[in-house]
Each structure stands twice: as structure tokens, then as C-alpha cells.
């Protein structure tokens, strides 16, 4: 244990995802030796992000205003809605320049181990959007891992009986993978080859 302020910093850093006690200590000592200017800039960046950045009221993407950049853009196609797990997936898909529709960010995937059930995700809001907006196709672009597939399957059941086309990004993405890690070429191909989920009560065995 260290004296007050240093230990507080180590404790706070240790709460960050992917930062263990050892790394927290290393970062803390790095900051201790850093210039005051550098340390202040980091502190300000954290404060500013919390004060100015929020979640889009329509799609839950990261936004610097009431709505995000995509939702505010009048040139986007209102009839196609791409459902993703996280805001970083929006960034990954935008980089491909393959997609011109709108997004809906769920805020994660169904994962009982992490205590995340359907109620913890923005699924009710998605259903409300489908009532109000002229959506003709919902592309489910959750990650191609177990949790993402379970979430896609849950969504397709929820959307059953609605007058929308429901598609899933084509496989070819790495198994157990993260959409965020998928390179742009793979992701573009996945969009072009997306498959209909409608009318399939259960997924085919691959």
C-alpha cells in the first residue's frame, strides 16, 4: 500500500477494463514522473469527455449533441437500420463506406455471466423506433461470437411478425471474433452477402 493520493490513483486505474493491479501501479508511477502539463491534459480529456459526450437519444451511438452525427445526417437512408452492440462497431462499419442507412446501438450483448439480459439492452427502444420510423430492413450486425449470435437470435424472434426484412451479416467474419477487429474488406463482404433471417425459426447448422 502507498500513501493516500498515490494509492487512490492506483485504485481508480485498477477499475479500468483490462488494467490489472500491476499495470495500474505502472501507469500510476508513469504519471507521477510525467510533466504536469501532460498529466493535466489527460485529466482534462477525461473531464471533457464526460461533460460533452453523451449517448444519442435516437440510436444510442456516441454523440456530442442531442443526436449523433449519423442521425442528424439527412442524406442517410431511413429504410435500413443496422443493429450493433457498441458504438465502436458503428465506427468500424462507417470505415467501410459500404453502408448508408441508420444505426441502433444495443449497448452490449446478452450475457448471463455478465448479468446482461434483454432488459439491460436498448431493445425496447429499437421496437419503438420500428413503430415510428419507415424501416424496411433491419440488419443485425452483432459480433460473430456466442453472445452476439444469441442476441441476434433473440432479436429475430422479437421482430417476428413485423413487416420488416431481417438480415444477418454474412459469415466469413472470424469465429469468436469481434466486429471491431474485422478488417474493412471482410466487413464490406459481410454486408454485401448478408442473409435473410426471416422464416428461420432456428439457425441452420454450419
Amino acid at each position: 500500500m502507498y500513501e493516500g493520493a498515490v494509492q487512490d490513483l492506483i485504485d481508480e486505474l485498477g477499475r479500468l477494463p483490462g488494467v490489472g493491479p500491476k499495470s495500474a501501479q505502472r501507469i500510476a508511477f508513469f504519471l507521477l514522473q510525467a510533466d504536469l502539463v501532460d498529466a493535466t491534459r489527460l485529466a482534462e480529456a477525461i473531464t471533457r469527455v464526460k461533460q460533452t459526450v453523451r449517448f444519442c437519444s435516437r440510436c444510442f451511438n456516441i454523440a456530442e449533441a442531442e443526436q449523433c452525427r449519423v442521425c442528424r445526417d439527412p442524406r442517410r437512408d431511413d429504410t435500413v437500420l443496422c443493429v450493433v452492440e457498441e458504438a465502436r462497431d458503428v465506427v468500424a462499419i462507417e470505415r467501410t463506406r459500404e453502408y448508408r442507412g441508420r444505426y441502433h446501438v444495443l449497448g452490449g450483448a446478452i450475457s448471463p455471466i455478465d448479468g446482461i439480459g434483454p432488459d439491460e439492452l436498448h431493445i425496447t427502444e429499437l421496437l419503438h423506433r420500428l413503430d415510428r420510423e419507415p424501416v424496411e430492413e433491419v440488419i443485425i450486425a452483432t459480433n460473430p461470437n456466442v453472445e452476439g449470435e444469441a442476441t441476434a437470435s433473440f432479436l429475430s424472434r422479437q421482430l417476428d411478425g413485423r413487416a420488416v426484412r431481417v438480415t444477418r451479416l454474412a459469415s466469413g467474419l472470424p469465429v469468436g471474433g469481434d466486429l471491431d477487429y474485422a478488417d474493412e474488406v471482410t466487413l464490406s463482404r459481410a454486408f454485401v452477402g448478408r442473409q435473410d433471417l426471416r422464416g428461420r425459426g432456428t439457425r441452420e447448422v454450419r
Binding site: P112, I113, G117, N145, V146, A150, F154, R157, V175, G176
Partner: protein, 389 residues
Amino acid sequence: MLLRRLGLTDVRSYDHATLEFAPGVTVLIGPNAQGKTNLLEAINRAATGGSHRVASDAPLVRLGAEVGAIRAELETDASRRRTLELEVGSGRRTRTRVDGQDVRRAAEALGVLRVVLFAPEDVAIVRGDPGERRRFLDDLLSQRRPAYAAARAEYDRALRQRNQLLKQARGLSPRARSAASSTLEVWTEQLVTYGTQVVAARVAAVRALAAPTDRAYRDLADRPEAIGLAYRCSAGPLPDDGGAVPAPAEVAAALRGALLEVEDDERARGMTLVGPHRDDLDLTIGALPARGYASHGEVWSLALALKLASYEVLAEVGDRPIVLLDDVFAELDTTRRQRLAAACARFDQVLVTAAVEEDVPLTGARVEVTVEDGVSRLRPRPAGEAGAA
């Protein structure tokens, strides 16, 4: 494929060692606890992503060192040169490089180096719990086709998620439970999807192993009795369609049906009761189950026969594996030594350890393994020179 050169840095009893290998037989000779087995273990670790002796990598690193490195230079059946490098250490992620390039997932390196290892501990495949036999099949299939390792990992993940949900649902009110059951259906579907891939592949492996295991056992055992291999599916017997791989739709239907049957029980106990995590491989010698009835010699011969048969299953797809035999010949009488030696003749490369050189009736390179100043030393013996023993 061939192992051309092996480098070990701070691995078990080795501080720094390199060894060149030729095709054919190499016998590593030395008293026990000098590092013979450690060398085979390191090769196996690089090939399969796991150690046959321990679950964690910590003991693989030499005492006092932080990181151990294994470097294998290989030649594929198509005469292509490849390298596989691993840096292991306790509490750190294993760094794996294939042909000098870092791989993001260790699974991507599966299949680069292919081996069949037989070690005395493998009698557990015959004598041990069902988990030992499941692991034998899973390790074999993962080496055969890396996609299997991925499906197996996804199955485990789906299983953990579904168990967690079943556990949570136990304490819920009837109304909340019915809400949770819509999520449970989704996890059941995931379990069936990946479970089907795992079961179908395991059944295919068992069917492919049956004949070569029987052949190998007759060569090794005192009494040449017929060996039976049957995959026991916790979802109930699968229809035998006579094909190499069972129809996925039928496996899926069997899993789905069995899960439906145990649904109430699963909810009460808060765990998944059907699936490849509860399956077994039934082994019989003559008419009797090998587990519980077989003598030590029979158990040992069957375990070795299963490993020799693994060679055929691996060689079916991709490069022919390198065969590693740890301390095998000492267990056999002269006749069986000759038979095993004859079986080894069809392998491209065989690495054998032995405490007594005369136990191994194989011609090929000899390497002496001794401990000096606390670390293992490798001393290739020039051709034609007789052993000190």
C-alpha cells in the same frame, strides 16, 4: 512433416539448447529426470497449445526464469520451411509467432506443428474419468482441424452462459421465470448449434479410429482380442447411418429432443444435463469394458493403440504428424518391441526417449541427455559410435 531444429530457452530443465533433427528415428537416451521428457513436452506444447503434464504454463518455465521460449523449425510434406515460436510465462499471455509473424490468437497456430505424443500418463485415457477420453478426442480433432478447436471453445462459452441462466432462474418468481425462458431458448439454440458440430466431429473421429486401433492393439497385446470403440452420447444413441460423419440434422434433433426431456430437471438443478460435455467414449476389449476389467498391460496397450491410430486420423487431412514416444519401450517384452519398431517404420519422423538404449530396437540418431550444473545438456552421438552403456 519434419522437425528440423528445436531451440529451447529457459524451458523446464533447459537453460539454452538447440538440437538438429534428421528424418526417421531419433532416440533421446539418459537416466530419468535428466530432461528427456521435458523436450518432448515442449514440442507437444508448441503443437497442441497445452502441456500433457500440467494445466498451466508456470512449471514449463525454468525455475528462476520469467519467460521460456520454444522455437521449432519445420519442413512440411510439400518441403516448405516453416517456423513456430512460443514465449510462455506464468501470468502472461503466450506470445506465438508463425513464420516470424505474431498471431493474434493461439488457435491460429494450431496445426502448424502436428504431433502424436504417447506418454505413460496416457493410460488415463483408458482408465480415467470420461473427461480424459473427451480430452483425447478434443485434442486430436483440434490438431486435425483448427476450426474444431473454435467450435469446442464456442460450445464451452454457450454452456457456461446457459448454466448461469439456469442458475439465476432457480430463484425467480414464476412470472419472472417465464420471461427468462425466452432467453433460455436462445441459449439452448446456441448450445445445440455448437454441440452438434462437436458431437458430429467426435463421432466421425471415433469411427475413423476404430479399425486402426484394433489393428494396433493386436500388434501390441498379449492376447489379440477385438477392440470396440463407441461414442456414448448423453442425448441418447445416434442412428448409425454407416457414413463417416453422422448427419448434423440428426445430431441436432437428438440434442434438442434430449434437452426438452430434461428441461424440468435442469431448471431444478440449475445446470445443463445433456450435451457433449457429458458424453463418453466406450472402450471394450473382447466383450468387456476396458475400464475396470482390463489388466495393466491391456490398459497400456490400448492407450498406445489409440495414439498410434490417431496418426492415421491426423494424416487423413493435412501433413503427416511427427510421432513422440515417451518412455514406451521399457514397458514391452522383446517381441512387442520388435512389433512397435516395425510400426514406427511407416512414420516419417519418430522421437523416442529411453533410459536404457538396448530397449529400443530402432536404428537412427542417438542423443544423450544429461544434467550438468543443474541444467540439461544434449549431446548428439556421431553415427556408428557405440553408447557408453
